[in-house]
Amino acid sequence: MSDALAIRDLHVQFHTRRGVYKALNGVDLGLRRGEVLGIAGESGCGKTTMGLAVMSLLPRNASIPRGQVIFDNKDLVNLPREYAERVGDRFKPKEHERILRRVGKALARIRGRRISMVFQEPMTSLNPVLSIGFQVAETVYVHDPALLARRVLARSKTTPQIMREVLTLLGATQGGEAALRKFAADHDLVGLEEQVLFVWRREDVHISRKEKAIRSLAGQSMKPWERKIIETVAKSGSIPPQFARVPVLSKLVRRILLKEGSRKARELLTSLGIHHAERVVKMFPHELSGGMRQRVVIAIALANNPEIVIMDEPTSAVDVTVQAQILELVKQIRTSVSASFIVISHDLAVLAEVSDRIAIMYAGRIVEVAPTAEILHHPLHPYTQMLISAIPTLEGKSVEGIKGEVPDMRAPPGGCAFHPRCPFAFEKCNSVVPIDFRQGDDQLVACWLYEGK
């Protein structure tokens, strides 16, 4: 089985006034399908840069001299790199606007839809002047308007008679959900089943109330010409230019679909454990607590059923009791969503809890990758070993700091970047960059100590 995402020899540089900052220096990493991969490392080691590079969200002063990010047999960094090469050192708005737009369009097919990211600070990654419901709805509206269109259409086509059939299907002792899916497909009602199932699966509501709620889904009223437009959107998968160009029509489509998006937002938020989601979608970010905001940001990332979700420090802005809630949520999501996850964190203990494998980064390279248990109990790379022994525990065992400082990435040390701080360093380490050595079943370590072992 091929990897969901493969990063090969990725280099990223930032051009600053004080020199070229080499943030990533040859990252090699594969994300397997369905796994949670943790990325750990100290601040400044390039964890976030790697996440941004995968998302093609690097700032303008970044360049990617070498490397590939392979997703679905396509190289994700190729497009921005091509663009950067054409643009060169200076950005000329008139000339480059067109290329930029083309690149952006091509990326939008993947970014936010098939690969999504949860950013570091939930406080700053939400727009303070837009309601929560709108912000979740917008993501779906931008990337998959057809989904919303199908949902509206399905409701408008449903009659009380159909709903009675749906309820009998669900009431059957087994196979109710599968039968419902088939029923929806057969009756051209795709989009209805997820709305029905959302209500049906709630556990805190009495069955008679659920039935009432499901019945009330039927018969969304719609004017014939509205329906025609929405049907076109549902069929074409995007908002066709003949509507997008006419302000009146585009506004109409937008209004209907965003309203539907808000409904979808309610379902999403409820599934992420937010109570009274119908109230929350009308709120603004400042009205929510840190934990709630983090849930909203996760909801936005999951809104389009992405194949890969990158979570950048999902718990570092929240308190330890809320962190525990979020960790439980992440564990629950991974069983319910068929996506692969990359979780970036500086806290190994957090990663130990949620991830299947952990990759340790130092100075823009992956120094060790292994299954969680292996890396915690049998760390091989000296840096990993020292990092683990620096973590204080509740038992108060003695901790040991790593001597020296993180290297200046404008002029990183030659050879293994860790050699100036490494107690085991020998001559080879000063001059030659170590390659990955496979140890045991599934452990890769980039350290010359393991050459030939």
């Binding site: 008679s208 330890v320 809630q325 439980e328 620096a390």
Partner: protein
Amino acid sequence: MMIAAYGLSKFFPVRGAFRATTSLKAVDDVGLKIQNEQVVGLVGESGSGKSTVGRCLIRLLNPTDGEVLFDVPDSELAEYEKARAAGATERVDAIADRFSLLRRSTSELRAVRRLVNIVFQDPYSSLNPRMKLSTIIGEPMISTRFCTRAEADIRARELLGEVGLPEFFEDRYPHELSGGQRQRVAIARAISTNPKLLILDEPTSALDVSVQAQILNLLRGLREKYGMSMLLITHNIAVVAYLAEYVYVMYAGKIMEWGAKGKVLRDPQHPYTKALMSSVPVIGETRTRSILRGDPPNLISPPLACRFHPRCPVAFEVCGWSPEEVAEDLEFLVGGKYYGTFGDGVRLTVEGDRTIIIQGTTEVQKIQELVDLEKEDVRSLKSIQAIDVADGATSVRLHEAIEPEMYPSPDGREVKCLLFRLDASAPAAMAPRSAG
């Protein structure tokens, strides 16, 4: 005793454009003691008031209420406590006049500033970017008249060596240093006047683990060498476990539990401490944790009685449930899970501070059944004392809340939880709840 605080409170005024001035009760009735040469940890989530306590203790903030005695002999302290308990105002005043920090004038405080010092959380904003390191480190020595300017320069160089920085750093500026080095400078500045008490306000939270370990070891070394008392304020429980001997746990402006480190961390008693300890992720250990629902309360209108009760997994009848809280939960159940029993048309209104009126149903039996079935999960329902019918409506009466105090436990710690109130008289009755 190095420092002892009694009933320390700090309320910050909150002004709104359209509402009356209210107060945010950041710290409410906190007692805390640090013995000579003792390291005490103060842990809590952000917003729990731990930094405010640290600042009030050394009068960087003036507390709204309470008393802080500094460097008081144990015999006098015992007498003070006795007099305070007995209400002997004259005696209390006599001792407080001599030792209270709150009764010192600004000029008298300057002498005290030599004996207490503080390391701030963020080493990037607590060092003046326009000063050389030698000036930064020398400043407290000069301003407290600890020594002359020339002596201060020499001592600054020594101190740099003391905290593990090369002496030639004296001519550098803060921007040339990394986070760990800056924090070392902040520590050098704090110990420059040989203080007896050092307040460490989140000393490592801005640092990476590898640097954090260096700083923790530095602090441990300094403590052994100089025998300072320290107050370690942090949200990182592992840091407290590494340095402190006693631990105070704060939640929403109140101390919830305090005691010897080993006891509080390994065998927490207060439900909040239990949840806090189980929330800490530990490497190589998968454990069943008690996940707290919701978030810490708003301190402008904190929950009644015990401030933890809305999130507490073992809260019971008298923990301080307000009728609003009970009505919300009841409404949710009646309109959701028990919709089949009650149907539409049930309306709940709160009347007074202990009564809820339910309109639209008079079936006391069914309500009682609902309460009995759900009260283990929905703890607020426990506070229902009686359900009666009057004038075609049902009225639900709640238990009266009891404000928890610090209850001593036999192993020397104190816990602010009503579960421990009856320990002496009826431990058996309360035991099953604390096990839950």
